[in-house]
């Protein structure tokens, strides 16, 4: 087990290194960050000052070395626009993104898992059809359309909910629906296919032969196993919801990480974009690492096969 964990750690570190190289190069490939930040009318002196301030006047390799060295010490750089450490800006926004993502995540599971199970075991029932319709609507209609429609109905026409902002429970309702609904369909599809596969398993057949009630067969024997890939996807979806809910956060003026990414890009704040993308990547790698270890612990075949 220890060797397995060490191997996963090495893979994770390599992934993060590759991610850091990619982010570092992509940000610089779009143009000179100092010049794009300073604007076309800035003088060379002004641009040179920015380059010097952010170490952009040094060779690329030296810049990358500092970049990695700083990351190791928890320094993601300093934001051009916010004039604060990127990590501080990120952590200021993180709680709100976690709150929104948690609620949206819960909603996506609350719709997606029942819809998937029902679609697998009672595909013709009205409940299955209704759940499927709800889930598929969420993925078929772009979430910015859903968001705008929600605002129009519940804020402009009915006046029940505020259009945007943060700070009250009411302000969470529409962003949660718009974000969670979209992910519900993916959860439903995976739950459905996973359930269908599991339901064909010998142990399910055996349980039925033993006379176990169908409800218990589904919920206790099948669903438990079928949820493993679903939760894997859900975990990654959660990371996505936290870090890149750009459209939803922008529409609802929700001050989270997604909004921060959009601001960073629009204001050409390359240290910020670099830092946020790196944090998102690190979160994905960490989640995957934890899941790999948990699987290996639950199922010895996994660690032995690898």
């Amino acid at each position: 087990m220890l060797r397995y964990i060490l191997r996963r750690v090495v893979y994770s570190v390599i992934t993060l290194l590759l991610l850091s190289v990619t982010i570092f190069l992509i940000v610089r490939a779009t143009g000179d960050p100092a010049r794009t930040y300073a604007g076309p009318e800035a003088s060379e002196e002004e641009v040179a000052l920015i380059r010097a301030e952010y170490g952009l006047d040094r060779p690329l390799l030296a810049q990358y070395g500092s970049f990695v060295g700083d990351i190791v010490t928890g320094d993601l750089g300093r934001s051009f626009q916010y004039r604060q450490p990127v990590l501080d800006v990120y952590l200021d926004r993180l709680p709100r993104s976690l709150l929104l993502a948690s609620l949206a995540f819960t909603l996506s599971l609350a719709i997606g898992i029942p819809a998937g199970v029902l679609s697998a075991v009672r595909s013709g029932s009205w409940a299955a059809r209704a759940f499927r319709a709800v889930a598929l609507t969420g993925v078929s209609i772009p979430n910015f359309v859903i968001a705008t429609a929600l605002i129009f109905v519940f804020s402009v026409k009915l006046g029940w909910l505020p259009t945007s902002g943060s700070g009250s429970a009411k302000q969470l309702v529409m962003p949660t629906i718009a974000l969670g609904w979209y992910f519900a369909a993916a959860t439903m599809r995976l739950t459905q296919s996973s359930m269908l596969e599991v339901m064909r398993g010998d142990y399910v057949k055996l349980a039925r032969l033993k006379g176990v009630p169908e409800r218990l067969v589904i919920l206790k024997h099948a669903l438990k196993n079928a949820l493993i890939p679903v939760l894997t996807l859900a975990a990654v979806n959660f990371v996505v919801m936290v870090n890149v809910a750009v459209v939803i956060e922008q529409i609802f003026a929700w001050p989270g990480i997604g909004d921060l990414v959009a601001v960073g890009i629009s204001m050409r704040d390359f240290p910020l974009v670099q830092g946020v993308v790196l944090m998102a990547g690190a979160m994905v790698v960490t989640v995957n690492f934890v899941l790999d270890v948990v699987y290996a612990w639950l199922d010895p075949r996994i660690r032995l096969n690898r």
């Binding site: 604007g39 076309p40 009318e41 004039r83 605002i151 945007s164 003026a253």
Partner: protein, 556 residues
């Protein structure tokens, strides 16, 4: 004097006139204003007209109520610190509430004394003297002093900082309220750069506090001398300001202003419809019709800065654009009315014909604009193309617009096809475009559709876009450079006016930049606001947002 924009001194004269006509009998101001102007002074500008309080007699009315401003862009804390001012007018949308400057425009009075109660610019442009207003205070209660003004100047790092520092010879402080900047050489553009949003150097920060918290700390918790103090900043997405009843000009009427950052246009408009916000920046596109139809919403529309076409590399004899007839044909082929109808519903101004905005100091007046610069005449355009040897037109590699003005560029491309100029749209991400702009004419071949919000005066834009060495220039006309050098060297204002007008006329006659149309902006306000939109939106040159904040009123 020629009917020309005599930006500096016509404005100064207006201010003097306003002062003379005003009923101001503030004894402290009279005492503070030098009784006898020194021989070198060309004008002593004192507070008067609009800048002086529109009133504060009798018992002071306590500010009440709250307005919410739906802001259209993300906020950067640097915008709360004038020391780092960039050339971005958006930043001043916050600064006009939070900070105050020695001189600034007020409705009806340009370059008016603000924190200064009077100022003088020597006629040799070698010095500028200010008397600081006795009632001017920072939000922490400390008075604004000559030390603060000196510190602000010397530690300024924003746009044009180098120019100001290079020009400065020494600073003379007579006492806490009197300060004079002495320059090494004539600083003719001082007022334009010090008293307009061209720079932030005239916006005074408190020395002691700034030194205590440092530049980054100041951006997080700024203290200004404006009519409102910042009391809350939620992740730079919602800012709450509270009125300063002791503000020198007058006590603000509204107690609380909340700037709410809502970058999505539709959401911002929905918030206005729902009554969540009272002011809304930028109503555009499909939102214009419902906004016009809503009786609770007041709109104000103004044309602002122009778009223009450039032809990088036109000086090369092999370029078809080397022939002025071709460039003129391009201008004649543009159906500007059709463009503005499609882009703005028809309200944006198309009679400018100039690449610089009317409200920029030194810009040609409407009388000086030649109709042919914005004429639409397809037959004449085709004839000119034929005369130039291109009866069937020619192909151009690309037309690159500044993002996101792709639809406008598409319309231009379609219209140019009418005279046989075939080209395709080159979509570039904004950052890449901005960088390419600084790399000369080779970086962006073909044509460019450009626009600028650069503040200051026409000369400021000329330095950036027209000079051979301009930071954003893709053209080089040595004769114009030589004439501009004369302009820069001259301290004769009449001569400078004449030269600037000649320069613009010559450039327009050569169609170096082909005028397209003026960007139109629509702003909106909700039913709770008592002011007419004209009182508080676009109320001063080069500033499209709400101002003066202390004059904003709520309906009872």
């Amino acid at each position: 004097m020629a009917a020309r924009h005599r930006f500096l001194f016509l404005l100064a004269a207006l201010a003097l006139l306003a002062s003379a006509c005003g009923s101001s009998s503030n004894s402290s101001e009279e005492e503070a204003t030098p009784q006898t102007a020194p021989p070198e002074a060309v004008g002593v500008v004192t507070t008067g007209g609009a800048a002086q309080a529109t009133t504060t007699t009798g018992a002071r009315k306590e500010p009440t109520g709250k307005v919410v401003y739906g802001w259209h862009t993300a906020l950067t804390p640097a915008w709360l610190d004038p020391q780092d001012a960039g050339n971005v007018i958006t930043a001043y949308g916050f600064m006009y509430a939070l900070h105050d400057s020695m001189i600034k425009h007020y409705p009806g009075q340009q370059l008016a004394p603000s924190l200064a109660e009077s100022y003088e610019l020597a006629d040799d442009f070698m010095s500028a003297s200010f008397v600081i207003r006795e009632k001017a205070k920072f939000h922490n209660g400390e008075p604004v002093t000559a030390d603060d003004v000196e510190f602000t100047y010397q530690s300024y790092r924003g746009t044009q900082a180098k120019l100001f520092h290079d020009k400065l010879d020494r600073i003379e402080k007579t006492d806490a309220r009197h300060i004079t900047f002495h320059f090494k050489e004539p600083f003719v553009d001082f007022l334009v750069l010090y008293g307009t949003p061209a720079t932030g150097i005239g916006w005074i920060v408190p020395k002691a506090y700034y030194e205590q918290v440092g530049p980054d700390g100041f951006k997080q918790n700024p203290i200004g001398a404006g009519p409102y103090k910042l009391v809350r900043n939620t992740s730079n997405t919602e800012l709450e300001f509270e009125a300063m009843p002791d503000y020198w000009r007058k006590s603000p009427e509204v107690k609380t202003i909340i700037y709410k950052i809502i970058t999505d246009d539709a959401t911002r408009f929905a918030a206005l419809q729902a009554g969540e916000i009272d002011f809304m920046n930028v109503v555009q596109g499909a939102l214009l019709e419902p906004a016009k139809a809503n009786k609770d919403i007041s709109l104000i529309q103004r044309s602002t800065t122009p778009f223009w076409l450039e032809f990088p590399g036109w000086e090369n004899p092999d370029s078809p654009f080397n022939d002025v007839r071709v460039r003129q044909a391009v201008s004649l082929a543009l159906n500007r009315q059709e463009i503005t109808n499609a882009e703005t519903g028809g309200y944006a101004r198309i009679d400018g014909g100039n690449w610089a905005t009317f409200d920029l100091g030194g810009a040609l007046t409407e009388d000086e604009i030649k109709p042919e610069w914005y004429e639409y005449n397809l037959d004449k355009a085709k004839q000119l193309m034929a005369d130039a040897g291109y009866p069937d037109g020619f192909e151009v590699e690309q037309l690159t617009p500044l993002a996101p003005y792709y639809p406008l560029a598409e319309r231009v491309i379609t219209q140019l096809a009418e005279i046989g100029i075939k080209t395709k749209l080159n979509r570039m991400e904004r950052a890449a475009f901005v960088e390419a702009l600084t790399k000369g004419s080779e970086a962006l071949p073909g044509m460019i559709l450009n626009i600028s919000g650069l503040n200051g005066d026409v000369a400021t834009r000329w330095r950036a876009f027209v000079l051979c060495e301009g930071t954003s220039s893709r053209t080089c006309i040595p004769e114009l450079d030589a004439k501009f050098a004369q302009y820069e060297a001259s301290v004769d204002l009449d001569e400078r006016d004449r030269l600037m007008a000649e320069l613009q006329t010559e450039m327009n006659d050569q169609y170096v930049f082909v005028y397209v149309y003026n960007l139109g902006l629509t702003m909106a306000q909700g039913p709770r606001i008592a002011n007419a939109p004209e009182e508080i939106w676009f109320s001063i040159p080069q500033f499209p947002y709400v101002f003066p904040w202390e004059d904003v009123r709520l309906k009872s």
